[in-house]
Structure formats: C-alpha cells, structure tokens
Amino acid sequence: MEQGNKKKNAAAKDKRQKLVDATMRRHGHSPYALIETLHTVQEVYGYLDDENLKYVAESLRVPLSKVYGVATFYHFFTLKPQGEHTAVVCTGTACYIKGVPGILSALREKFFVEAGETTEDNKLSVLTARCIGSCGLAPAVVFDGEIAGAVTPDIVVERVGRLLEQ
C-alpha cells in the first residue's frame, strides 16, 4: 500500500517536474525565464520549496541568492505550503473602506488565525491580496478560488466554517 502510494507520488512528481521543465524549455533555459518558471513551480506545487528553487537555479544558471531574492521580492510567491483551504481577503481600497478590518478580526477571533498565516492543524490559510479587481463587489473574499462579493464578517465566518467541514 505504502509503496504503491510512493510510486504514485513519484509519478505525480514526475508530471509536475515535466511542467516546470517545459516552461524552462519554452524559454530556452534563459536566466530571464526565472519568474515565469517560478510561476509554474508555484502553480503545480502550490508553493516554492527549497528543493525546487535550487533545481530552477541550477537549470537556468542563476545564482542561488538571486533566485531566493526574486522569490521573496514578489508577494505573489509563497515559500510556505498553504493550508488545505484558503480564504483570500481582498484589502483593496474599496474593500478596506467597506469593512475589511472587521472581516480579519472576525477570522482571528473565530479561527485563531492571523492574516498571512495558516492554522495549526494546517486546515486553513487566511491570506490577503492587494486588490483582486472586484471593487464593484466590495468587500470581496476568495474562498478556495471562488470569489464572493459584498460579504460581511458573519458571512465570511459561515463560509469558512462550511469549507472546514468538508
């Protein structure tokens, strides 16, 4: 059983690795492709782990410190794995003046998690985004990739509660 899983994991990893390789190949393994490649890594692995950063550095012949510097410069990239579920709270201006602080404090009180962090049981990550461009529906929160507009703290707590029950 365990071995089967490992094999499956290895196969899955291979597939993901191929996607990363494909991106680098498309750009002729140019050092310029660093950010594009990091996008692919994050897309397929969910975050940028040390191993992949080193792999990308080596493949594109970019110094390690430079790769790390780029990966930490852009806030879209995360070097930590996310929780099983995510709630991305938009903190754009329109959302902010329509009550983002209340939403964040409701999440803090109810699920004991600060913005940018993951709960201890690894079930929920609360993230913030600098405007997701849904200002017309402010305030907006993205629950596991699904945008919800005109939310209130109560709605957010209820939706997150439902996510966690799944």
């Binding site: 410069f73 852009y74 806030h75 201006t93």
Partner: protein, 549 residues
C-alpha cells in the same frame, strides 16, 4: 492581402451574426462571474434549446457591461434591452418575451444616466462582443485599423495621427502618446520592443482587468499598431498574476490572432512582423514603474533605476522600448477607425478623449465607466454613480490610488482632467475612483495608503524604504490618539523628504494621500492629536493612559 479580401473577412462574420434575430449576451467579466453569470448563461442556452429558438437566438458570453453593482447583467440585441440582477429563474421570462416587450421588472431603461452619460471608445466593444471569439471582434471591424495602418500609412504618418489625436498616457502620468512613440521611433537600435503594462496595481482599480477580460483583441491590435509605428517586432504584455481570467482570455486571443495571421510573420502579407508574449507579474506594485517593470520582465527583482536614460532610449535588454498601459493601447484601434480628429474633438483643451474609471466605494452604481474628459466629479458621482450609498453625506473622492489624493466636496464641480486633478493635489492616475462618505476617517485612509506604500516599497532607495515606514508609524500613532503636534510636524517634513528625494514614482508620490488629507482635512488630524477623538468614529483611541510625548 487586398482590401477586398480583408473586407470579406469582416463581412462574413457580420453576416453570420445577422443570421440570428436575437443576440442574448450574458456578462461573463469578473464581477458578474462572481455572481454566477456562467450559470445564467447555461440556463439561457438550455431555455433557447427547449423553446426551439436555436435558429433565431444566439446566446453568448460578453465582456463587462459596466454596472457591476447590479450583476449578472444580460443584454438582448446589443442594447435593445438590458437586464440587471438576472437569476436562473428569470431566464424563462426573458426568452418568452424575446419577440415582445422587454421584461419590465428586470429592465434597466436605456436612458439611465449611468449609460446615457458615458462615451465609449476604449470600452466600445465591452459588452457587444464575446471576448473569447475572434469572429465577434472581426464582425465589429476588428483589425481593420491595423490593416489600414500597415497598407496605407508610413510609420511617421501613424505617429502624426497619434499626435493629432492628443491621446495622453492613461497609466497615470499623462505623457503625450504621440511624443513617446516618436521618441522610440527615433531612437537608434536594431531591436525595439513594445510593452503593454497590464500590471494594474492600484488597490481599487479594475479598468485594465475589465478591458483585458472583455476585449483582449483590441489591446493586441493596439500593440501591433504601436509596434509598426516605432519599428518593433516583439511585444510583451506584463500582466498581473492575480488576474487568471484575463490571462486566460489574452492567451486565447494571442493564439487566435497568430493562427489567423493578425500577429506573427508578415502580417497581411506586408513586411511587418509582430509577436506578442505574456509575462506574468507576481504581486509588486512598484512594477508599474517602467524601469522596474523592465527589470521584472528580465527575470529580476522589480527594482527601478534612475531615469534618464528613459526606456524609450534604453529599455528592455538595453533596447529602445515603448511602454503603454492597457487603456492607452485599447484607444489606438478606435482612433484609427474613427479618425484622430474625432478623438481630439472629445474632452478638453489639454486632455483629449475619454477616460475609463472604476467607480467604487460608498456609491450606488459601482462599476466601470468611460466618460469624456472635462466631465465634472459631481456628474460622475451623483448622476452616473447614482449618489452615495444609503444617502449618506459625501465626504471625498479618492483618485489615483496610493499616488493620488482625496478630493473634498468643494471641488465637485471641477472638470476632470490631468491638470485640474493635479492642481488640487491628486492625480488622474490609472482611473480608480473611490467615493467616501462621512463614515470614512481621513487619517484611516491615509494610514491605509501609507501601509500600502510601505509594503510595496522595493527597498532600494532610503527615503522610500525608511520614510514610508516612518510615516506609517506616525499615522498609526495619530490614529491611536498617541501622537503630539511635534509628530504631526515630523510627518509633514517626511512628506517633503520622501517626495523630493525618492528614486522612482512610487516614493515620489507616496506622500500624496497624506498631503491631500492634511490639506483638506487638517481639522481631523487636530481632532485625533489634540482632542484624542476620531470624528468619523473609525479609529479606536487607546488614550486615557498618560501619553508621554
């Protein structure tokens, strides 16, 4: 390709479209999509099939119709009827009445100020095409401007036309587009680039997003025309990674255009070749700055470098590079279709044409609008925007995001153009317009923007890196009732230091929200500092305990 051959393409698609008596378009741009417009669209498809009207009714998705607050939006026959807040349950009624009078309870009358007061050029096709269909774009005379330009005009003529149109950069700075093009055209270099800046970073702005999601081909066409004018054969769209739908549609559009030879080698059998590639931004506001954007495309940390030299001379990989933003580029094809004179006839003396705004905040009709330059703020807020939510009292409108300022009531009748906005301490910016009512605290707003600038500062230059951190700290102290008048003086002084000495536009404009709120709402600062109260009731004062300052 001969003109006849080209005209046939558009005609073919127009005929195809006209085979249907009814065109039902469901808005599938971001806001409506959030409100499950895809389900509504599916329901329409099902209903049309069940009622056996497939031959006469065409159901398609379309780009942003503008009135995001009332989504999902549906139009029948491009404006014959417009329906708001359509749910799956309403679909049957609409299809039943498609040959008769519109369904009253859902209908928004065409003469509603929100629509009647707008002039659509950049957003011309938003809501009348399926953004995923090249055919739709061609039916609306898409790529006709590119054809005309490539076959009838020299590079210099194209640039002259741009100068004549009076179009100015819509990304914020308002630099004359014709002049920029001509600088790149004149710059020496074998290789030149065109970059579309789609890294819309202003919190509270979603114009670029809507345009990319609603009408991607017009941006590609604009880029190709720009490429021809300046002598570039390669274009990049630097687009926010946070906009997955826009990325998807743009990718699809590039593929369609390549396949149909509107991009690629020898476009329309002319010697001109032009390719477009996407580069994904990764969440750095500073990459809206031209030199930082270039660094990012080169795969580096997005830190700016001092200008001059300007990218027009020394840009991507050291080559002359033209950078225009999404709205600027989406104006290009319409200008060549309708003529520079037409475009220049709209707007004011120094600010020609139209401007797209993302209207948000405490306002009834949130959404995307395009208005002629020179319109007053009052018309935007109270006529088009429908006034303040809950009929509260208007307090200020914020334009230009973190680089702009808060404009108070006394300037509501001021015309909206580059110079007027700058004159009152704000900027045109990319078009975010956030309306605030009496429940917003101006110190809280200033603090919000400073927090933004602090976390978006790239850290390269000291005034911006440390200055924004210092200013944010002072604003926090003020908002908590812990500051003294000496802190207030420090804040004012820091504004000057950061504004005068920062390396790039981010730092140079970061103090603007603070400066404008000090200018117009100084009494609120005084209330927080001296009386330890927040007049709007937003800030929580931690006072009581003795303040040792």
């Amino acid at each position: 390709m001969t003109p006849e051959e080209f005209n046939k393409i558009g005609e073919k698609h127009r005929n195809k479209r006209d085979e249907f008596t009814h065109n039902i378009r469901v808005c599938t741009a971001a806001a409506c999509a959030t409100l499950k417009s895809e389900e509504v669209k599916k329901a329409f498809e099902k209903e049309v099939k069940e009622q056996d009207k497939k031959k006469t009714c065409r159901v398609s998705g379309t780009g942003c119709l503008g009135l995001c607050a009332s989504g999902p939006l549906v139009t029948v026959n491009d404006g014959q009827a417009l329906y708001a807040k359509v749910s799956v349950g309403d679909v049957k009624d609409i299809v039943n009445n498609i040959d008769k009078k519109p369904v009253k309870r859902l209908e928004i009358p065409a003469d509603t100020p929100f629509f009647a007061r707008q002039t659509k050029i950049a957003l011309e096709n938003c809501g009348t095409t399926d953004p995923e269909s090249l055919e739709d774009y061609l039916a609306l005379r898409g790529y006709e401007s590119l054809y005309k330009v490539l076959t009838e005009k020299t590079q210099v003529e194209v640039i002259e036309e741009m100068v004549k149109s009076g179009l100015r950069g819509r990304g914020g700075g308002g630099f004359p587009v014709g002049l920029k093009w001509s600088t790149v055209y004149k710059a020496l270099g074998d290789k030149k680039y065109v970059i579309c800046n789609a890294d819309e970073g202003d919190p509270g702005a979603f114009m670029d997003r809507s345009m990319l999601e609603s009408d991607p081909h017009s941006i590609l066409e604009g880029m190709a025309i720009a490429g021809y004018a300046v002598g570039a054969d390669q274009g990049y769209v630097y687009i926010r990674g946070e906009y997955p739908l826009a990325i998807k549609r743009l990718r699809a559009a590039i593929r369609q255009a390549e396949r149909n030879h509107f991009l690629g080698k020898n476009i329309f059998d002319t010697p001109f070749s032009f390719n477009v590639e996407l580069r994904l931004g990764a969440g750095a506001f500073v990459c809206g700055e031209e030199t930082a954007l270039i660094a990012s495309i080169e795969g580096k940390r997005g830190t700016p470098r001092p200008r001059p030299p300007y990218p027009a001379q020394y840009g991507l990989w050291g080559c002359p590079t033209l950078i225009n933003n999404v709205e600027t580029l989406s104006n290009i094809a319409p200008i060549f279709r309708k003529g520079a004179e037409y475009y220049a006839s709209i707007g004011t003396e120094k600010s020609k044409g139209t401007k797209v705004f993302a209207l948000a905040g405490s306002i009834k009709n949130t959404g995307l609008i395009e208005v002629p330059m020179g319109i007053t703020l009052r018309e935007i807020v109270f006529d088009i925007g429908g006034g303040i939510l809950g009929d509260k009292k208007f307090k200020a409108v914020q334009t230009g995001g973190p680089s702009g300022g808060c404009i108070p009531e006394q300037f509501l009748d001021m015309p909206v153009d580059y110079e007027s906005l700058a004159g009152v301490g704000s900027i045109m910016g990319s078009g975010g317009m956030i309306v605030m009512d009496e429940t917003s605290c101006m110190i809280d707003v200033a603090k919000y923007f400073m927090d933004f600038c602090k976390s978006e500062s790239c850290g390269k230059c000291v005034p911006c890196r440390v200055g924004t951190a210092q200013m944010h700290r002072l604003l926090v102290l003020i908002s908590e009732g812990k500051a003294s008048m000496r802190d207030f003086e420090l804040l004012e002084e820091l504004c000057d230091v950061v504004k005068s000495t920062s390396l790039c536009g981010l730092g140079m404009t970061a103090p603007n929200p603070v400066l404008s709120t000090i200018r117009y709402f100084k009494d609120e600062y005084i209330a927080h500092i001296v009386d330890k109260v927040c007049p709007a009731g937003v800030c929580v004062m931690e006072s009581k305990e003795e303040v040792v300052l």
